[in-house]
């Protein structure tokens, strides 16, 4: 009899399992594939190793601007890039496995099926438990486009096994996944076309930021087809319509980056009456599903498909199931798009504030106000935008484009999470010289 069975060993599940075990609970963690989930194996970490390699390759071309001359030819060695990715992933997966063992979490590999409110079956083995935490994550979405499911179309799983850089790449979807791969392939030397159904890229991001991002990525040579609907894929040909007329294009490689869908099948959720739909399992802010004893966290809930949100949701669920009141506050979850330049944001966008009728003040400063940004980037561009409440000056949203905004966005998250006003936030001392000083300038600029 376990206190908790966690289904899925991604960043939602494994952190929750370890947290419960450290509380002295008897915990079983069931994973059908690899510990680490999407994030470690086919998501955050592999894509960042790819992007680091492509960035370095791209920087070699820029080295002369920094007074560094490279002799001979610079080549992008895709098998070596994949090999490095595997090494990094291997190290991290091993780290998680060790951590789980130390915490005292028991692990089982296999497909789990919930057979009762208090029992989970893996193969022939039945495990009894007081609580179940669903952390089954998500998989690449397959929209109803003819031909998109064919083997010739890559998705964000299979793309990591490429053995060479294609000459031309067509990416379906201009969200964060599509944009990161667009950036990678472009820097690695491919000609990239991005097809996006909506009139903007990175939907959900602050429009001023995503518009700037579009300009920058276009300048890097990526071609964007916005308000464009992909009609079908045949072999290497992609058929699409825009402005009422149809066209087609060919590419060595076609990548489906249309988003992610929660994994809810084969778990026995229907039989138990767990409330879920195509957008995931429904949960309360404390991680409860409608069925007592069954909890959920991460992508499977369809709330915020972000590893760090999953981790927090898992820990919140564990705390609540064992009597410690806790809740996740979605208002201050940072999100990053790891393109070059990076886009990092937390809190509400200007468009959201307008739609909600919130009166706000705003301040936008160029990244170049921070000396360090000029030092690091030759001809780089970026900006930080701070949105604050009109009446009390509480920070409502911070949106940045420019490297390395992902490393300091957490400061803004803390300000938002603690409802800090611009006057208090302006009292913080930021280290000099760092890019983060642009955030300080933007905060001080809110009048």
């Amino acid at each position: 009899m376990y206190d908790l069975i966690v289904i899925g060993a991604g960043p939602g599940g494994y952190e929750a399992a370890a947290h419960a075990a450290r509380m002295g609970k008897k915990v079983l963690l069931i994973e059908k594939e690899k510990v680490g989930g999407t994030c470690l194996n086919v998501g955050c970490i592999p894509s960042k190793t790819f992007l680091r390699s492509s960035e370095l390759f791209h920087e070699c071309g820029e080295a002369a601007k920094f007074g560094v001359r490279l002799g001979g030819s610079v080549e992008f060695d895709m098998p070596a890039v994949v090999e490095r990715k595997n090494r990094v992933v291997g190290t991290l997966v091993k780290g998680v496995e060790t951590m789980l063992k130390r915490a005292g979490v028991e692990s089982v590999t296999g497909q789990a099926r919930i057979v009762a409110r208090n029992a989970v079956q893996v193969g022939d083995q039945r495990y009894e438990t007081a609580n179940i935490l669903l952390a089954t994550g998500s998989r690449p979405a397959v929209p109803p486009i003819p031909g998109i499911a064919s083997k010739s179309v890559l998705d964000s799983n299979s793309v990591f096994a490429l053995d060479r850089v294609p000459k031309t790449v067509a990416i379906i979807g201009g969200g964060y996944i599509g944009l990161e791969f667009a950036c990678f392939f472009s820097e690695a030397g491919a000609k990239v076309n991005v097809y996006e159904m909506l009139p903007q890229i990175a939907t959900g991001a602050d429009l001023e930021i995503s518009t700037r991002m579009l300009q920058i990525l276009k300048r890097q040579g990526i071609e964007f087809h916005l308000s464009t609907r992909v009609l079908g894929i045949e072999g290497n040909t992609i058929r699409y319509s825009a402005d009422g007329s149809e066209a087609s294009a060919t590419a060595d490689c076609i990548l489906n980056a249309t988003g992610r869908a929660p994994v809810v099948e084969g778990l026995g959720l229907e039989e138990l009456g767990v409330d879920f739909g195509p957008r995931g399992v429904k949960t309360s802010g404390r991680g409860k599903t409608n069925v007592p004893g069954i909890w959920a966290c991460g992508d499977v809930t369809g709330r915020r498909m972000l590893a760090h949100a999953a981790t927090r949701e898992g820990i919140v669920a564990v705390n609540n199931m064992f009597g410690k009141k806790d809740r996740i506050r979605y208002a201050a979850i940072p999100a990053v798009i790891y393109t070059h330049p990076e886009v990092a944001s937390v809190g509400r966008t200007e468009e959201e504030l307008k739609a909600q009728g919130v009166e706000y003040r705003k301040s936008v400063v160029p990244m170049a106000v921070a000396g360090r940004f000029l030092v690091e980037h030759e001809g780089g561009t970026g900006m930080v935008k701070v949105l604050a409440g009109a009446r009390y000056g509480e920070i409502l949203g911070v949106h940045a484009i420019g490297d390395a905004s992902s490393e300091f966005i957490v400061a803004a998250a803390i300000m938002i999470e603690t409802e800090m006003g611009v006057s208090e936030a302006g009292e913080f001392v930021f280290p000099h010289p760092t890019v983060s000083e642009a955030l300080r300038e933007a905060i001080l600029g809110v009048h």
């Binding site: 506050r329 509480e394 603690t418 409802e419 800090m420």
Partner: protein
């Protein structure tokens, strides 16, 4: 230096406490923490302990006395010290005026201010706080209205305050909301229990003087009477025909349905005078004059203007009088005399579509008639089902003096008057 100990404020609503028992008596040696007195509120018994070692120099009240909170209860010091400075009635200690004021004049603004100042005084002087807790309260300017102590005898320790302080700390934005008049509605939902602006809501507003008066009268009404309501209905076609005639005859007084029903009620009271009466002190007083009160909704709340000698008025005169009084009630210019002395009351919610309700008697009156909406009602006539316009009537009576049968009889008379309205009122 002598130390005075006050009656602590033991809850938001507690204004005075009963001295249940003196455990120590004048002249006894006491040590810090020893229980000196037991005091009671309407809810529970509490112990008041000595804050310091010394001699119990004076106990100011007898057992069984009700004492306002923050009034000095006893004094501890060295034998021979003068305690006159602490005597409650003479030189008043700092907190006493607030308590006295609250007790004598429960006006709108005063209690709010008193309760804001009160916890500070409690933290400073109450025996319920340990010295370190008192210091913490002072240092952090933190004086919660209620805090449960984990120390001996419910004594509040520094740790109790510290925990509460951290659990209640508002974010800087929430603090600004609080300063702008909002108050904490929920547990802190932020990091480590921090209070966020989403945990706040509009501060509870004290009800207006007139609302307070309505509230008291309604409570008294329910407490002092044995109310029950009879529901019936009358054929309203006569009322509607008269009304149509009034409308057609332009220039005359605009007699409406409510005026007509009030008129019919007056006529019914003439037939059944038992209900035109007041009951108090075990005595019934019947009135020869009929002064009709009518419930009137105004921007300041419910008021009940009174039409004097309504039995002497024609329907048109009654209508004019009602409108005149209602206008003055709504504009706030009505005289106090026009709001008292009713012998019977009519309350009309029919124009809101109410089909039946329970009007509350305005004591010492013994009945009130509620007028409901006009609705279609099926009746059987000559073996056929027909629909007629029917007006609902809800009569609340005080069963102490009016039993069901006489009440129903009056209602029947009202019904008959309404159905014959064309013959009793001339337009």
């Amino acid at each position: 230096m002598a130390t005075a100990v006050e009656v602590p404020k033991l809850g938001n609503t507690v204004e005075e406490c009963l001295i249940a028992k003196w455990r120590k008596h004048k002249g006894d040696r006491v040590s810090a923490g020893e229980v000196v007195a037991e005091i009671e509120t309407d809810k529970a018994t509490f112990e008041v302990t000595a804050p310091v070692d010394g001699t119990l120099l004076e106990t100011f009240f007898e057992e069984g006395t009700l004492v306002p909170v923050f009034t000095n209860l006893f004094v501890i010091g060295e034998a021979g010290e003068n305690v006159d400075a602490f005597r409650p009635k003479a030189a008043a200690p700092a907190a006493q005026p607030a308590a006295t004021k609250t007790a004598s004049a429960p006006g709108a603004a005063e209690p709010a201010r008193a309760s804001a100042a009160a916890p500070a005084a409690a933290a400073r002087a109450s025996t319920a706080f340990s010295p370190r807790a008192q210091r913490f309260a002072e240092e952090h300017n933190f004086h919660p209205a209620a805090v449960s102590g984990s120390g001996p005898g419910g004594r509040v320790l520094e740790d109790d305050l510290r925990k509460l302080y951290h659990s209640q700390r508002p974010s800087s934005t929430a603090q600004r909301h609080i300063e702008a008049g909002e108050e904490v509605r929920d547990d802190g939902s932020g990091v480590a229990g921090m209070i966020l602006s989403s945990d706040l809501g509009p501060a509870a507003a004290r009800i207006s003087g007139i609302r307070e008066k309505i509230a008291r009268r309604m409570r008294e009404s329910l407490a002092a009477t044995a109310q029950y309501t009879l529901n019936s209905s009358a054929d309203a076609s006569g009322l509607l025909r008269v009304r149509a005639k009034v409308k057609a005859a332009k220039g005359g007084p605009d007699i409406n349905i409510n005026d007509l029903v009030t008129f019919c009620t007056v006529k019914a009271l003439l037939d059944v005078p038992d209900l035109n009466a007041e009951f108090f002190d075990g005595k019934i007083r019947r009135h020869a004059e009929i002064h009709i009160g009518f419930a009137c909704d105004t921007p300041r709340g419910l008021v009940v203007p009174v039409v004097r000698n309504a039995h002497l008025l024609s329907a048109a005169e009654l209508s004019v009088k009602i409108k005149e009084l209602a206008e003055r009630a709504i504009s706030g210019s009505i005289a106090v005399d026009d709001l008292s002395g009713a012998t019977f009351t009519v309350s009309n919610l029919g124009n809101f579509g109410v089909e039946s309700f329970t009007p509350l008697i305005n004591p010492p009156q013994v009945a009130i008639l509620g007028v409901d909406a006009i609705q279609l009602k099926p009746i059987r006539r000559d073996g056929k089902i027909e629909f007629i316009d029917s007006i609902g009537l809800s009569l609340t009576l005080d069963h102490q003096v009016i039993d069901g049968a006489p009440g129903a009889k009056f209602l029947k008379v009202v019904r008959e008057k309404i159905e014959k309205v064309e013959s009793i009122c001339t337009i």
